[in-house]
Symmetry: D2
Subunit: 348 residues, 4 copies
């Protein structure tokens, strides 16, 4: 076993689970020792995900058999509610928990209950959990037992806005976030709406009147800004599998030149391994981050007017989910933050 981290995954049959497996199968300091699925217990993982044939010899196990308390860290790639219900026992056993769902993304339990429709399963754990956006909270993550891995849209959105908010350059009461996501964000459940024949060669907005990432976006941006931030957030469904693009619109409260804005973004992210500020005038494409843990950003001030625009792209399953979770694992255990996350996107 050679001192590698013993890793457990709860709920490995969805898309964030399979992405965790892809990344962890190549991580030099991690051994996946358990992967659970009630529905598929007994099935070899590589039967469900043929891309892992020859790469991973594991079999799905039931949660009971998985002996998760013997792991160093457990990832929850489950629907919301599951991690909160199981985290206490794990933490008590000294196991660190990274939840890829929403149980530890919101500190305000009333907001959580409003948007998720029932009481939080483990309210006592929330105050000590840490929001796992390394670019904003690296130090706190390093000392945490429970990490709430950010949502995909909130990740792309926060990375676009952090330099503007921390420098108090924009009106925080009127931000528009027009977001577009590939279909893998909807998960691997069998739904007519997500069939190929229903989604290919088409595009639409959805959830305009309210999407669960809205409270997360507003709460986390408010933490960053130090004051309440209000966002209009409209997600759209792209006819592709992976990739999120957000175009963010805000009103400048200072007359700062585009050159200064560009410099400010480059400086802010100069030491971030996974944030790439594109040259002025260029447009980040989702394909350049596909399968990688990177975020690529560009900042504009169109026509020299008062409105600043930032476009931001990530892979929703990698930086927007499993990749960021592995990044958080690396931080939690003092490993180099990029370990196991150095994939180059396929182009074309």
């Amino acid at each position: 076993m050679s001192g590698k981290l013993k890793v457990g995954i709860v709920g490995g049959t969805g898309y964030t689970g399979s992405e965790l497996l892809r990344l962890l199968a190549r991580h030099p300091q991690a051994d996946v020792v358990a992967i659970t699925s009630r529905g598929e217990a007994g099935m070899p993982v590589s039967q469900l995900f043929p891309s892992l044939r020859g790469e991973l010899a594991m079999v799905f196990s039931t949660p009971d058999d998985a002996q998760l308390t013997q792991c160093d860290v457990v990832f929850f790639a489950t629907p919301h509610g599951v991690a909160a219900a199981q985290a206490e026992k794990l933490v008590a056993a000294g196991v660190k928990v990274i939840d890829l769902a929403a149980d530890f993304r919101l500190q305000d339990l009333a907001v959580w209950e409003k948007w998720y429709g029932h009481a939080h399963p483990a309210p006592a754990l929330v105050p000590n959990s840490v929001y796992g956006l390394p670019e904003a909270h690296r130090a706190e993550i390093a000392g945490a037992m429970i990490v709430g891995n950010p949502g995909c849209y909130p990740t792309a959105t926060q990375l676009a806005l952090i330099p503007l908010l921390t420098n108090q350059l924009i009106d925080v009461t009127d931000i528009v976030v027009d977001a577009k996501s590939g279909i893998s964000g909807a998960g691997r459940a069998a739904k007519v709406d997500m069939l190929f024949a229903e989604t290919y060669d088409s595009f639409k907005a959805y959830g305009v009147n309210g999407h669960r990432h809205l409270p997360e976006i507003e709460a986390r941006l408010s933490v960053i800004a130090g004051q309440p931030v209000q966002v209009t957030f409209v997600p759209h469904l792209l006819p592709m599998i992976r990739g999120i693009e957000v175009s963010v619109y805000a009103n400048l409260t200072q007359d700062i030149s585009i050159d200064a804005l560009q410099k400010l973004f480059e400086t802010h992210y100069a030491n971030e391994p996974f944030v790439d500020v594109m040259p002025a005038g260029s447009s980040p494409e989702t394909r350049t981050v596909k399968g990688t843990n990177r975020c690529r950003l560009a900042v504009y001030r169109p026509q020299g007017r008062n409105k600043v625009v930032v476009t931001s792209v990530i892979d929703n399953l990698t930086k927007g989910a499993a990749g960021q979770a592995v990044q958080n694992m690396n931080i939690l255990f003092g490993l180099p933050e990029s370990m196991g996350l150095d994939t180059i996107a396929l182009l074309p």
Copy 2:
């Protein structure tokens, strides 16, 4: 010839040209008598567009041979500058002109020259040309000799905003238009950037710092509003062939309920044959208008806040180009406005 309209098409080898042919081949009162292409003169149209095999027996001709002055109406499906250069002679011969490019979309010649980089080829014709958005200018179109057919993005954008602007419900100084278009909008020219392998399975913004549809959008919205309108316009490239979606964001200047907004949109467009206001809470999908001349709209007031959102979908080659041009032809000649435009979208 039975009294049908004699129609000429200049520049029939691009996508707006082929869309005109598809529609006019089934129009009960139109005969395409000439279609020109310098490059493909002598080639049967159905060789270039095999979908027209058995439907259209025409051959591309040179502009000289086409005898366009004997037509009733000539469509220009050409790059900007061509229609303006040829329109005077046609109009003098009593031929009506519908330009699918940009020569007659802007009344302000200084703006035209700024965005198109050279002097307008026929400035004297501009004041008498009419902007061909029937939902805003039906009566003027009926009496025109030259129609400037609207751009694709401006069509979807104006239809989204007209009810709000004519009722003076929004702040006209701060409108965000986040627009997404299928790739056919880039035309049929051989460009590396538009290759399948460069664009499939990816998404990006483009032209953020300035797109030629921005001045058209602002000028036309200002006409509708009766005061200067300022827009932040960011187009994006969708990995699909046809379809535009725009999501429009504006600040309400009155506290109008979403029910009242819904009612206002439904009332405004009640008699429009090609504008469909979707039921409250639904999301228009581009696939439901593909190949049709329809625009589908939805209006929202998310979280009951001050921001009104409108989403609007069209097919960029039909309502955004050739379909609207045929609609204008119908108006110009007193035909039923929907004639030849009754296609139902393929679903799935």
Copy 3:
């Protein structure tokens, strides 16, 4: 009602049902008077298929309420077994039946039972039913009460092979049919395998060891050839919604030139409204038949060798299902065979 045909559709919530609605909504001599769905009874059709908003004001009804015996013709767009179970009562009432599923495609009941896994629900009806491929059986269809509408793959395959078989030019014991279909052929049921994220940007064979269209293909080709025909049939799944291409390979039993083969195909199909033999050397593309009732074919003799190759494209939902069903309806009632089927494919 003006003497139009009264049409009923059983099972209108799948893709062949929605395609029937698209076509029949524009058919000049047909009125859809009933469309049934147990699951969606009471829902407006245009709510399920927004492309029909403003086109069709019908509501799904239960089969009991539909009073199908008052129709002139009833289409079954249902899983196999349903039409056979209901046809007797309808035929007794003088209603003609067109089954888009497999109940009346095979005359040999033992073969039917082998491939469908249970006894045929109405064996007595089978001998009098007619196989609805107009290009092979037009006269019989005209006098039928029950039409078994051909499968999608069998349609494309038979049209590719009929000229070769009727002229006894190929070895009937060794024909390879390599077939590819868009995903709509799998229907509208919610299955993980047909999710966008499982099928986009990928390609595979399926059903290699046995697909239900194999016995139909062999039986029908044997009827055409007048002797037993043996086929190796391998279907594949294309990452697109509509379209089938089959590439057919056979060994020539005579040394016939490619020019003579081309001429033979052109002559054979000279009067067929929906079969287009492409010029020598060209390749039919599925996009040129999308949404239309056409089949486009090309014949080759590569390297002048003994092997003849035919490629054939159709839209699986139109000529491969609903379009051919409407064509059969036209024949059954003495209407012009192309009535309501004159759509031109969108290109691009």
Copy 4:
């Protein structure tokens, strides 16, 4: 420099060039020291391929400046003819050459000239070059100075047929290869036919009367079989970027059971790092090999008849081009054959 291989790439602006860069940027024993492009000399590689931003700091150079004779190995990712013209000088300087184009794929110069339309630029080099399919010619590759990297279709086809041919199980005079490729196989040149709007949502055969991979397939299969092999080869164009599937059809000359065939394939490839024989009855999908150097295969004997079917999938740019080239480099220099080639496909 640490003893790593000094690698040069001629022609790095196309898709096989960018794929080489992606792979070599992560290869532990290779340093790309020169990459040439006449057209883009002076441009940073990461400007042309943004996926390489932060990964590779190189700039395109002219061939003259590249000092290729100081490399250990030079890859030619160029049109045919270029490698042959430059190889002599490199080989004389002790530099090994791997040509990703067609100059060293055919030993018969008359055949080469027939299919490429002019005299071979360096006929004297051909006899000593080696055909770089490791699964068939590993030992010869190890000692070569010039490797002709196989074509994409020939790679997938040979891997499907080698076990059948080396065991003399099939009739070599009548093999059908129905092949399908993603569009990246057509390269990065600006051609109307390869635009997104011309190829998305469509499918067709092409080159039926003669494709340059036919003589390569026949020549190489004949070497493997030890007798002349004749193939009917029909390629098709898939609406996706990467991936080839070939379905191969042959007549068995012995009555061998499917179980024995399965066993034979598994045994033949048991020690191959990049060939994966799928379990009986399953279907390889192109997505499971995307971006990887693997080939996945399945063998069938449908209906227990005389015809054996093999389906084979690869990524045309990886195992079909750049990945196999790196595999050959590893063999040429005695490195572990899988070094730098251990990517796991993205799924979904």
